[in-house]
Amino acid sequence: MYSSALEVNHLTKIYKNGFTALNDVSLTIQQGDFFSLLGPNGAGKTTLIGVITTLIKKTSGTITIYGHDLAQEEFVAKQILGVVPQEINLPAFETCWQILINQAGYHGIPVKAAKESAEQCLRQLFLWDKRDSQTIALSGGMKRRLMIARALIHQPKLLILDEPTAGVDIEIRRSMWQFLSELNRNGTTILLTTHYLEEAENLCNKVALINLGKIQYQGEMKQFISQLEVETFVLQIAESLTGLPLPTTWNWRLVNSQTIEVDLPKEKTISELIEFLHSKNITVIRLTNKFNRLEELFINLTKQVAHV
C-alpha cells in the first residue's frame, strides 16, 4: 500500500532550444491531498503537468503514480490518472455524450458501464441537459465543466487540474470549488494549478511554489501562509478625519477622509488595532485585506527568487 499518490523525483526537462523548463524538481503528494502548485507564468507548472501526463517527454528523473513507475508501467499508471488541461481541447463537432463515452472507451470501460458513468458525471456537473449538444455550442464555463466530467469518467484516484477555473465567472468558479472539495472529501487526490490564489488558499491543504523551473517551497498551506510577515488592511471608518490619530505607532496611511490603510505586522493583532482606534473615538465600519494574503506572499517569494 503506497501512501503517496504522486512522487516526482529529480525531474528535469530541457527543451531542444536549450531552455530548462524544469530543473531537478522533486515533489510528493500524499493520498487524499488537495495539493496546489503555484507559480508565475512560465514557471514550469504546465511543463510539469505535461511530463506527468506524458504529453511532454522528460529529460531525466522519475515519476511514480500510486506506486507505479510511469516509465515502466505507463498504462497502469495512466489508468489512475485524470487530467483537465489548461487549454480547451474538446472536439468541436462531437456531443458531450459522445466525448464522455469515447473517453470511457479509451479507459477500457464497456459501453453499458460507460453510459452509467457518463450520465452520473454529466448530472454532477450540471451538463445533463446539454448531453446532445455539440461542444462548439457550449459556453466557456460549460466547456470547462465538460473537461472535468471527461477527466472523471473513469473515476481516477489522482485528478490533475491545470487552471480549471481560468476564464469562468465567479458563480461557476464557486460551484466548481464546491464540487472539487466534495470530490477530495470522497477520497480523490487532487493536484491543482491556478492563478487564483484565493482558490488555492480556500481549497488546498498542501502547496508547492515553483519558479524558474525549481520548487521554492513545499509544505502545508497553513505553514506557507504563516510565513507572511506583514498584511495590509483597508479600514473604512464612520468619522471624517483630516489627519491620522496620534501617537503614530502604526504604519498607516490616510487614503481619504474615511479610509485608512494599515500594514499590520504578524506580531500585532487586529483587535489591538481596533481597540486603539476605539480609544480615539474612531469607529471601524468595515475591514478588508488590501491584497489576498497568499497573493502578497507569492509576490514576495517570487520577487526574492528573481533578485537572486
Binding site: F75, V76, K78, P91, N102
Partner: protein, 256 residues
C-alpha cells in the same frame, strides 16, 4: 489489460467510422461524383474510340484502376485529415493521456481508413456496373491487394498527419505526390505500351503494383509479375506500418 485495449480500439475505430458517416457529403459523395464523371468521359466518350486493350474493352480496363485510385486517395486523406484535425483541436491529448498503447491508436486510425476505403471501393464498383460488365477472376488477390493497399495508405496518411503543422501540409503530399503517382500508375494505360525508358521509370512507382494487382484480381491481366508485385506491396505496407508506429511511439509531431 488486453480486454481494455480491445475496448479502446473498438471505441476509436467506431469514432472514426461515425465521423466518416456524419460528414458523408465531404467523405463519400465527392469521390462518387468524380468517378461517375471519369466513367462518363474516359469510359463512354473516349473509351468507345480506343477499342480493346489486352483483350478487354477500355472501360473494363480502367475500372480496376478507378476503384484503386479513389480508394487510395480517400483512405490517405481520411487518416491524415482526421489525425491532423485531432492535433489541431488538441483532442488527440485525450488519447495520449489515456492508457492506450500506440499500436491501438495506430490501428484505430487504420480501421477508420479501411472503412472509408472499402466503402468508396464498394460504391465505385456499383457505379462501374452501370458502365461495364464486371469480372472478378482472382478473389484472394483482390482481397489481399485491397487490404494491404488500404493499410499502407492509412499508415502513410498517419505519418503525414503526424508531421503536418498546418492545413497546407496535409494537402501537399496528395497534390504533389499521390495524385501524380496514381495518374502515372497505369490506371489509364498499360505500361507495357510505354517506351522502354518510361516503362522502367514506371516500375519505381508503387501505385503500378497496386493497380496491376487489382486489375489481375478482376480481369486476370497484368503488366507486372504478380508475385513480385505482391511482395513489393507487402514490403511497402510493413515498412510504412513500422515507420508510422515508430514515429508515433517517439511522439514525433504529437508530443513535445
Amino acid at each position: 489489460m488486453f480486454k481494455n485495449y480491445l475496448i479502446a480500439l473498438k471505441t476509436l475505430a467506431f469514432k472514426e467510422c461515425y465521423r466518416i458517416l456524419r460528414i458523408w457529403t465531404q467523405t463519400i459523395v465527392p469521390p462518387v461524383i468524380t468517378m461517375i464523371l471519369y466513367f462518363l468521359i474516359f469510359g463512354q466518350f473516349l473509351g468507345n474510340h480506343i477499342g480493346m486493350i489486352e483483350g478487354v474493352t477500355y472501360t473494363s480496363f480502367i475500372t480496376p484502376g478507378f476503384i484503386m485510385m479513389s480508394t487510395i486517395t480517400n483512405t490517405y486523406a481520411n487518416v491524415s485529415g482526421s489525425l491532423f484535425m485531432n492535433k489541431f483541436q488538441r483532442s488527440i491529448e485525450d488519447l495520449l493521456i489515456a492508457p492506450v498503447p500506440p499500436t491501438v491508436i495506430l490501428w484505430g486510425y487504420i480501421l477508420g481508413g479501411l472503412f472509408r476505403g472499402l466503402l468508396i471501393a464498394l460504391i465505385v464498383t456499383l457505379v462501374a456496373c452501370f458502365f461495364t460488365k464486371l469480372q472478378f477472376t482472382h478473389y484472394l488477390i483482390l482481397i489481399c491487394t485491397i487490404f494491404l493497399t488500404l493499410i499502407a495508405l492509412s499508415c502513410a496518411g498517419f505519418i503525414n498527419g503526424m508531421i503536418a503543422r498546418k492545413f497546407d501540409d496535409i494537402a501537399l503530399v496528395p497534390t504533389f505526390i499521390l495524385v501524380p503517382l496514381t495518374y502515372l500508375g497505369g490506371v489509364f494505360y498499360p505500361i507495357n505500351n510505354l517506351a522502354p525508358l518510361y516503362y522502367h521509370i514506371s516500375l519505381f512507382n508503387p501505385i503500378i503494383y497496386m493497380v496491376n494487382l487489382f486489375r489481375y484480381g478482376m480481369l486476370g491481366i497484368t503488366d507486372v509479375n504478380i508475385n513480385f508485385a505482391l511482395s513489393i506491396l507487402l514490403v511497402i505496407t510493413i515498412a510504412l506500418y513500422l515507420l508510422a508506429y515508430w514515429m508515433f511511439k517517439q511522439g514525433i509531431g504529437v508530443k513535445r
